[in-house]
């Protein structure tokens, strides 16, 4: 608003009201009033060109400052700030022109200014036009719908480069991914996850295993039961017991293994019991304790030096412990 009275005050001194000329007041040199007369004389074409120039000259700025100093108004501090500016500040405000308040202000100011004469009008006009231009450009950008490009908003020339690079990387990753997949498959080779527990084959196997266990348990029960009848501490009974035990074993275990060739589990026991029947039951009392059956008659053996050497180290190592 201050610009208006100022503009009013200044130009009338310079020239009589001439609205058209006032609008097209050029920027340019001449900050003094006399200079303004010269400016008025300039053609309108120059003005339109000059209007597009954004940068106000130094002399012009000085004039503005002077006017601001002279002007004394309580209302229009905003105008002062606007008029005061050095050029960078003005440009800054042009950038801020997107701010609605400033826009409104500048618009209203400029509209009024346009009616007035003066250099400041042109400055304000330029400001206003800059703001408007910026506003248009900004809205255009914001309203633009970006293509859904995975690469993002990048300059077109660079886009091709980036696209090429990404394609390269994807290609590199493919054989690596395949190699990894192959490796994983190879690692799992042979690993079969059982789908259904207890299909017929498994049932067969369980039956076989159960038979073995049952046989063992029966043998054990036969071995351990008759003890109750006889008293094991009496030597006579002990001998009877031992004989009975071994007999039942041999009967229980070795016979079925001849007839029914399915299970050989108990042959483990037959080995133990099939040894010399005169051996005592407690291990350390036997002659072959920790020596193995081969060395039982070691004093009678002649040419088994190699085997003895093989056996004795084993025996020694366990003795040392």
């Amino acid at each position: 608003m201050a610009a208006a009275p100022q503009a009013v005050s200044a130009p009338p001194s310079a020239a009589t009201p001439n609205p058209s000329k006032r609008k097209t007041r050029p920027k340019g040199k001449g900050s003094k009033n006399k200079a303004k007369k010269k400016k008025l004389a300039r053609s309108e074409q120059d003005d339109s060109v000059r209007r597009q120039r954004n940068k106000p000259s130094a002399k012009f700025l000085k004039l503005l400052r002077k006017r601001a100093r002279d002007y004394n108004s309580d209302d229009d501090e905003e105008e002062e700030e606007q008029e005061h500016p050095p050029s960078p500040r003005r440009r800054r405000r042009d950038d801020d022109g997107e701010d609605d308040d400033d826009e409104a202000l500048s618009h209203s100011d400029q509209e009024e200014d346009e009616e007035e004469e003066g250099v400041s009008t042109s400055a304000v006009t330029r400001f206003e036009q800059g703001c408007r231009a910026f506003r248009v450009a900004f809205l255009k950008i914001m309203n633009k719908k970006l293509p859904d490009d995975p690469l993002g908003p990048i300059l077109s020339a660079h886009k091709k480069l980036v696209a090429a690079k990404l394609a390269e990387e994807a290609e590199e990753r493919k054989p690596k991914g395949e190699a990894r997949k192959e490796k994983r498959v190879a690692a799992e080779k042979g690993h079969v996850i059982p789908k259904d527990h207890l299909d017929s084959k498994e049932k067969e196997l369980i039956k076989v295993a159960t038979k073995g266990v049952v046989r063992l348990f029966n043998a054990v029960s036969k071995a351990q039961k008759p003890r109750k009848d006889l008293n094991p501490s009496r030597t006579k009974d002990a001998k009877v017991l031992a004989k009975e035990r071994k007999n039942t074993f041999l009967a229980e275990l070795e016979m079925p293994s001849h007839q029914d060739k399915k299970s050989q589990a108990p042959s483990n026991f037959s080995k133990r019991t099939g040894k010399d029947e005169h051996e005592p039951a407690w291990a350390p009392l036997r002659d072959t304790y920790m020596l193995g059956s081969k060395l039982k008659d070691w004093d009678k053996m002649k040419d088994s030096a190699a085997e003895m050497q093989a056996e004795v180290p084993l025996g020694d190592s366990s003795d040392e412990e």
């Binding site: 690692a187 073995g212 071995a223 589990a265 483990n268 026991f269 350390p284 920790m290 059956s293």
Partner: protein
């Protein structure tokens, strides 16, 4: 009266005091010689040669569990350990059997070897399933922790009447676990079973690992649960205890028909449910890994020595090699006999 152990002089910073009974039991487990039978307790190492993929590592851990308690569960091997290192360590520790997993050319192989000079049986594992897979496929997986305190029983089947390498294989497997003395063994100690069945059609060996459960026959489910759980059942709806006991008691499970063949009469009390002179059924449930193996190679030494099993090329193969093969065959027969003698301990 001060307890002699609690005096200040006895404290050596050993940490929590282990009672004497536990110490004795620990020592017994580590002992080399079985107290009763007097035979050496066979101990084993399960390890791997070369890099193994993760599922095979799980299989290795499962195999270690199978061989418990006479194996090193947390055996740590380094890359730079050779077979020789293991042999050297095995001597003082009393380890007699090696189970070696390897993965040459992406085919898992398992080698059973006897230390220090024993024969080596190389199997190719055609199919395997981990213990975790089996537990996942079961409705009620059962693996009480106490079952690994005793060695498993080994049951071999289908091996009768086969040729030579299989007979030594049978011997090997029988010696892999400590012998069971039937007159003294406690039935409560037999809780696991290892089944090795030879399939003649496919020429593969099935490896299965089961846990044994004894179930009293003729006892209805409710009563069994009552004894097991030790909890008072909910008798709200019943007017009389007899209702609770006899209701729905008539129907047994369909598997009880199979149990007829599997009943044993126990010599002594196994636990609260299975008492002496009562009939109990033997029920097996699968735990542990499942493998299908094919015998590929038998060597006379520990991963070295003459190759016994895949019979060398016949005489008519190539002219030059003819003589060599003849000599080889003769040599092998001799060493075979030698190795069999060693194994008969």
């Amino acid at each position: 009266m001060r307890h002699p152990r609690s005096g200040p002089g006895k404290k050596r910073g050993r940490g929590p005091r282990i009672p004497a009974t536990t110490l004795r039991k620990q020592k017994a487990a580590l002992a080399n010689v079985d107290q009763i039978t007097g035979a050496k307790i066979p101990k084993s190492f399960v390890f791997s040669r070369g890099k193994l993929p993760s599922t095979l590592r799980h299989l290795q851990q499962d195999l270690r569990k199978v061989m418990l308690p006479y194996t090193a569960l947390n055996l740590k091997e380094k890359k730079r350990n050779n077979l020789k290192d293991f042999i050297n360590v095995a001597g003082p520790l009393g380890v007699t059997h090696f189970l070696i997993l390897s993965n040459p050319k992406s085919l898992p192989h398992l080698r059973f070897a006897k230390s220090p000079q024993g024969p080596t049986f190389t199997f190719q594992i055609e199919e395997y399933a981990l213990a975790a897979d089996i537990a996942n496929s079961q409705k009620r997986p059962r693996c009480p922790p106490g079952i690994f305190k005793n060695s498993p029983l080994v049951v071999l089947s289908g091996f009768s009447g086969l040729g030579n390498p299989f007979e030594s294989l049978v011997e090997y497997f029988q010696h892999m676990v400590p012998a069971v003395d039937p007159s003294t063994v406690q039935l409560a100690a037999c809780q696991r079973i290892l089944l090795l069945k030879y399939d003649k059609d496919k020429e593969v060996i099935d490896f299965r690992h089961y846990s044994i459960k004894l179930q009293p026959v003729g006892v209805s489910r409710k009563i069994r649960k009552l004894v097991q759980n030790n909890q008072v059942p909910d008798l709200r709806d019943f007017k009389d205890v007899s209702d609770y006991v006899t209701k729905r008691a008539g129907y047994g499970s369909e598997s009880e028909a199979d149990d007829e063949a599997a009943t044993v009469s126990l010599p002594s009390d196994v636990d609260k449910l299975n008492q002496a002179s009562r009939k109990s059924a033997v029920r097996l449930q699968e735990i542990g890994p499942r493998m299908t193996m094919r015998l590929v190679k038998v060597e006379a030494g520990l991963c070295s020595g003459d190759v016994l099993y895949p019979w060398p090329v016949a005489k008519g193969a190539v002219g030059k090699k003819g003589k060599v093969t003849e000599e080889e065959i003769e040599g092998q027969e001799e060493t075979e006999d030698g190795s069999e003698d060693e194994m008969e301990e």
